[in-house]
């Protein structure tokens, strides 16, 4: 949800940038968008669809998450040249690293869980998936790459209590930047020609004449 806010904020900022600049939006041409849909399916089955998520064991959920993240990494790699693409790739890679290092699920500490839901601990236990989601409750001393896990917390005064990772921050920033680029000026015809080598060919043609 909080990541979706970053997307919507980026969209509004990008459209406002285009509008104030008196330009038409320049939509980046992402490649292989179907990979994102393919990556979503295992997570949908493992975490969102009640009929399947109830029967998929923890190891199956871990497998789904790892496979899904690997597909997304491929998508982020082929689109890394776009604005914000490196941030998307980096954020995804950081999440992937900590997930793989801890058995296929995103670790979260008992202290962080208590921060999210200060209730008696009967609703969760150490070493198990948290509320059927992507996280596994692990003590910090047992967490590999703890700084990449869901380690960071929103302050108490914040309206929504969230535990998030460094990778999540990079992904949010990358998504925002990509949509911000929608409002950029269209590349000049001369620079497009130069980028494709067309300008030098035209010049050569002129000389030849």
């Amino acid at each position: 949800m909080i990541l979706t806010v970053a997307v919507l904020a980026g969209l509004l900022a990008g459209l406002a940038r285009a509008w104030f600049g008196g330009r038409h939006p320049q939509v980046p041409q992402l490649r292989f968008v179907g990979l994102v849909v393919i990556a979503f399916i295992p997570q949908w089955l493992a975490f969102h669809l009640p009929a399947t998520s109830a029967v998929i064991p923890d190891w199956g959920a871990a497998l789904c998450l790892t496979f899904s993240q690997a597909i997304l990494l491929l998508f982020a790699w082929v689109n890394r040249s776009h604005a914000g693409g490196v941030f998307l790739l980096l954020g995804l890679a950081l999440n992937f690293l900590v997930i793989v290092a801890n058995g296929g699920l995103m670790p979260i500490s008992p202290e962080a869980v208590y921060h999210l839901a200060p209730r008696p601990p009967e609703t969760w236990e150490i070493g198990s998936r948290l509320w059927g989601g992507k996280d596994i409750v692990l003590p910090l001393h047992a967490t590999r790459l703890r700084w990449l896990s869901d380690y960071f917390l929103t302050p108490r005064w914040f309206p929504l209590q969230i535990a998030f990772s460094l990778g999540d921050l990079f992904i949010s920033g990358g998504a925002f930047w990509l949509l911000w680029s929608v409002g950029r000026a269209a590349p000049a015809a001369s620079s497009v020609a130069a980028g494709t080598g067309l300008e030098s060919k035209m010049e050569a043609g002129r000389v030849g004449l």
Binding site: M1, I2, L3, T4, A6, V7, G10, L11, H24, P25, V27, P28, Q29, L30, R31, V33, V36, V37, A39, F40, Q43, S68, Q69, L72, F75, A76, L88, G91, L92, N95, I99, M106, I108, A112, V113, L116, A117, T123, L130, W131, G132, G133, K134, D135, D150, L160, Q161, I162, A163, F164, S165, G167, D168, I171, S172, A175, L178, L179, V182
Partner: protein
Amino acid sequence: MNFLRKLLVDTGRIDRQHVQLVQLLVLVLTLVLFVLTGGAPMIEPAAGG
């Protein structure tokens, strides 16, 4: 994205002025799906897990 443009414009289903709007919609949906799938924040249960 190029495939989408060819499909919509070349078959006459949509005029060129509206192609960018469709492409922007596809971009936003792709990014929403990307961040939901690639990100892993944990939100307090009362707010929807």
